[in-house]
């Protein structure tokens, strides 16, 4: 595949600076900052017993919705909007391939998400570290490792939204599809399959089929990987039926499969 890093970087740079100024980012980023830092400060004030890791795990858990909605909100119309306003015609008349356009857009939006989440999470980590005492390098490492998994999950939602943006004919359809499938549909598969097994009288452990559908949801996988920070989240001990390692592998496969599908579909599309 002929991929020019310079073309990808130019595309990513343009998307990055464009989206950094958008209302949707300012609103979502503001809400995330208020949610994550607010939760951290409140939990630090009450000093939950398992200190640093517990506080950070809970703060991320409470901010979970933003890790799904922020990527969807930023990327649902990346392709469909350019198609409807015909800006692809100018863009693709230049020496940039369709593959580079998609990869550049993905990198640009993912960079925006990182630019918002990493500094805010870092401030939260610092607040917790200062308030609760020195957490140690290992605990900080676990906190950032989990943030990395969160960002991997966010990347999955970006590529899923890109997929719907490529297949949809309007921005509205792309948004609804991304929300229904990405947020609701994939998360509902696990309880539905579990319920079906329960109704069928299956009660010994989690069936393979239920585990498989659990692994399909990036949000589930991020939750399951939270085990690397703390097993006890908000008093619930069940983080998921899969291990963090399985979750990370599932996230990587999900990202690879959706991004490959976007590239394949977009390369064949009449604009």
């Amino acid at each position: 595949m002929d991929l020019s890093l310079s073309a990808v970087a130019t595309m990513a740079r343009k998307e990055f600076y464009t989206y950094l100024k958008t209302k949707r980012l300012i609103i979502m980023g503001g809400l995330y900052m208020a949610g994550f830092l607010g939760a951290t400060i409140i939990m630090c004030y009450y000093k939950t017993p398992d200190v640093f890791r517990e506080v950070i795990a809970n703060a991320h858990s409470l901010s979970n919705i933003f890790y799904i909605l922020l990527p969807i909100a930023l990327s649902y119309d990346l392709i469909v909007r350019e198609k409807s306003r015909k800006s692809f015609l100018l863009l693709l008349s230049k020496p940039i391939t369709r593959t580079e356009v998609v990869v550049g857009k993905f990198v640009g939006i993912f960079s925006v998400i990182c630019a918002v989440t990493v500094p805010i999470a870092t401030i939260g980590h610092l607040i917790a570290a200062v308030t609760l005492g020195n957490p140690g390098v290992a605990d900080l490492g676990r906190a950032y490792a989990f943030l990395g998994i969160i960002l991997l999950g966010a990347a999955c939602y970006v590529s899923l939204s890109l997929l719907f943006s490529t297949t949809s004919s309007t921005s509205g359809t792309a948004l609804i599809s991304s929300l229904i499938v990405g947020w609701f549909g994939l998360n509902m598969l696990y309880p539905v399959v579990n319920l079906a097994y329960a109704l069928a009288g299956h009660s010994n452990g989690t069936p393979i089929a239920a585990k498989a559908v659990y692994l399909l949801s990036p949000s589930n996988n991020v939750n399951a990987a939270m085990e690397i920070l703390s097993k006890e989240i908000m008093g619930f001990s069940t983080l998921g039926p899969v291990s963090p390692a399985q979750s990370i592998v599932a996230l990587v496969i999900f990202l690879g499969a959706t991004l490959t599908s976007v590239l394949w579909l977009f390369r064949k599309k009449d604009l």
Partner: protein, 300 residues
């Protein structure tokens, strides 16, 4: 090349060659298939059958190196409303791999060429339609293309803005770059282009130089129109009686004759006066592209 959209045949077995240095027009009414042809040409849509080659490269492939040598301006300019004119040119300049200094020089030159230097830092959403179109021309030229493709470049512009864009195109044509222009405006094509391909309903009707087309139609006769205060049977018969007058028709007070020889206009004038007609005006007209176009698309 053939392009189908389901049951709709947008372009039907179109085969064309444009030579280097030619100023070529794709002419046809709205819906003739010009934009579809342009889109296939640029690789935005894929042909159902056939292929297009530019500089020897198949455009259904991604063709990065070919695009380095092409400037393109689509009919609908999809500019980014949240970027300024300068930012647009900078973005496109970066895509061509230009270094900062070269990019800045090119942007400066282009903005001057299209007269947008004063508004370079305004957001494109604040631009008028004419200014957007001029920015479209600037982005198409930023790489100093060997081939410039313009799809309805004056579409939707007021007469003044159309004139400005046309003047820019004329100056480009004078630089001897290969230019492919699609238009439904006959006078625009006539002013700018050397060669024209007329398409209608997705089919190529004729490809020729404008000079040859005009000459061929002129060979069929020159039109002499005489406006009289009153027209009567005697006057019409007197004109019909002149040797070399091939066809006579009348409408209101205007008598129109098709003649072989330009000098016959004087004979017609004399005949009308002798038959008692009071002549107000005599006009001789040679066929323009509009007439040729109407003749060629007659029956379609």
């Amino acid at each position: 090349m053939t392009k189908r959209y389901g049951r709709l045949l947008a372009v039907n077995d179109l085969s064309l060659t444009v030579e280097e240095g030619e100023v070529f027009a794709l002419l046809g009414p709205n819906g003739a298939g010009k934009t579809t042809t342009m889109s296939v040409l640029m690789g935005f849509i894929f042909p159902t059958v056939g292929s297009i080659r530019i500089f020897g490269q198949d455009m259904t492939d991604e063709g990065r190196e070919t695009r380095r040598r092409i400037g393109f301006m689509p009919e609908e300019l999809g500019l980014y409303d949240s970027l300024t004119g300068y930012e647009h040119l900078e973005f496109y300049g970066r895509l061509f791999g230009m270094e900062k200094r070269e990019r800045e020089e090119k942007i400066h030159d282009m903005l001057q060429l299209v007269g947008l230097t004063d508004r370079k830092d305004s957001l494109v959403r604040e631009y008028s339609h004419g200014m957007r179109q001029r920015l479209g021309v600037a982005q198409a030229l930023i790489n100093e293309p060997d081939l410039l493709i313009l799809d309805e470049p004056t579409s939707g512009l007021d007469p003044r803005a159309s004139h400005e864009v046309r003047e820019i195109i004329k100056s480009l044509a004078a630089r001897h770059i290969t230019l492919i222009l699609s238009s439904h405006l006959l006078h625009e094509v006539e002013q700018v282009c050397d060669t024209v391909a007329i398409i209608n309903k997705g089919k190529l009707i004729r490809k020729d130089t404008i000079k040859d087309l005009v000459r061929e139609t002129r060979d069929k006769g020159i039109r002499v129109s005489v406006t009289c205060l009153t027209l009567n049977r005697n006057i019409i018969d007197a004109v019909r009686g002149i040797s070399g007058v091939e066809h006579v028709e009348t409408r209101d007070n205007i008598l129109t004759a098709i003649v072989r020889n330009e000098e016959l206009a004087a004979d017609i004038n004399t005949a009308v006066v002798k038959a008692g007609g009071r002549v107000v005006r005599v006009e001789e007209s040679t066929p323009d592209l509009e007439e040729i176009f109407l003749q060629l698309t007659e029956g379609d």
